[in-house]
């Protein structure tokens, strides 16, 4: 049962991602991205990463996707929802990426992954919290400063030359 759900979610993720990439309507792409992100969150759940799944939905779906849609809105004159955009070098790119995938696939199947079995934890939040404030305190702080910097930078950049 869980397998079937997993594969369904996986299929959803991949197909929506393909839609994001291949479709010609920008807004559709954004919507398809929503599904991809959701699917990814689902996969996180399967990976016992409850906290990450939540964050995924919160940040990506709630933040980034909205941001992207805002970006679309701000950079196109909205006549209809169909904002078309063209792709290029799809032929060559496709072939290259296809072979790239083949090799990636071969690599990951051939590689002798060391797998350590574990039991499902009750929750990951506690562990992540402890780690963040102990071992990863410095990266945490740095990434927060970076985030702050990025926010200020984004604000400054998008304010225009007034």
């Amino acid at each position: 049962m869980a397998d079937i759900v997993f594969w369904i979610i996986s299929a959803l993720t991949v197909m929506s991602a393909a839609f994001v990439v291949l479709n010609n309507q920008l807004v559709y792409s954004a919507v398809a991205l929503l599904f991809t992100l959701f699917g990814t969150a689902g996969l996180y759940v399967f990976l016992w990463a409850d906290f990450i799944a939540g964050i995924q939905i919160l940040v990506y779906v709630g933040g980034i996707l909205v941001l992207v849609i805002f970006g679309i809105m701000l950079t196109n004159k909205i006549k209809s929802v169909r904002i078309s955009h063209k792709s290029m070098q799809q032929g060559v790119g496709g072939v290259v990426i296809f072979w790239f995938f083949i090799f990636l696939f071969l690599a990951l199947t051939k590689a002798p992954w060391v797998v350590t079995e574990a039991i499902e934890p009750v929750g990951t939040v506690r562990g992540i919290g402890i780690l963040l404030l102990t071992d990863y305190l410095l990266p945490f702080e740095i990434i927060s400063v970076l985030l702050l910097g990025a926010l200020i930078g984004a604000a400054v950049l998008s304010r225009g030359d007034s």
Partner: protein, 101 residues
């Protein structure tokens, strides 16, 4: 059962699709979306390795950091794109070739 390989397979597909998007799209925002896909693929890998390595939470931390980075990147990138649009009235990457001359 859903082994490590399957997650890696999915993440690799996501990665390749994202890369394809980055390579083929003309619209900057669409490119950004491709980047998001790539980042997601990476995150799936992190979390998957985390799980299959004895539920080691380090991977989660990295995923978290990547998400934060993605957010920051998206914010800055969109700000730049909007700026570009304001200046050049287009978001087509081809047309933004001031540096090339």
């Amino acid at each position: 059962m859903n082994s490590l390989d399957s997650y890696l397979f999915i993440s690799s597909m996501l990665f390749c699709l994202g890369l394809f998007g980055v390579i083929t799209r003309r619209n900057a925002i669409a490119v950004l979306m491709g980047v998001e896909l790539i980042l997601n693929a990476a995150n799936i890998n992190f979390v998957a390795f985390s799980k299959f390595n004895g539920m080691n939470l380090d991977g989660h931390i990295f995923a978290l950091l990547v998400i934060v980075l993605a957010a920051a990147e998206a914010a800055v990138a969109l700000a730049i794109i909007i700026n570009i649009y304001n200046n050049m009235n287009t978001v087509n990457i081809d047309d933004v070739s001031e540096l090339k001359r």
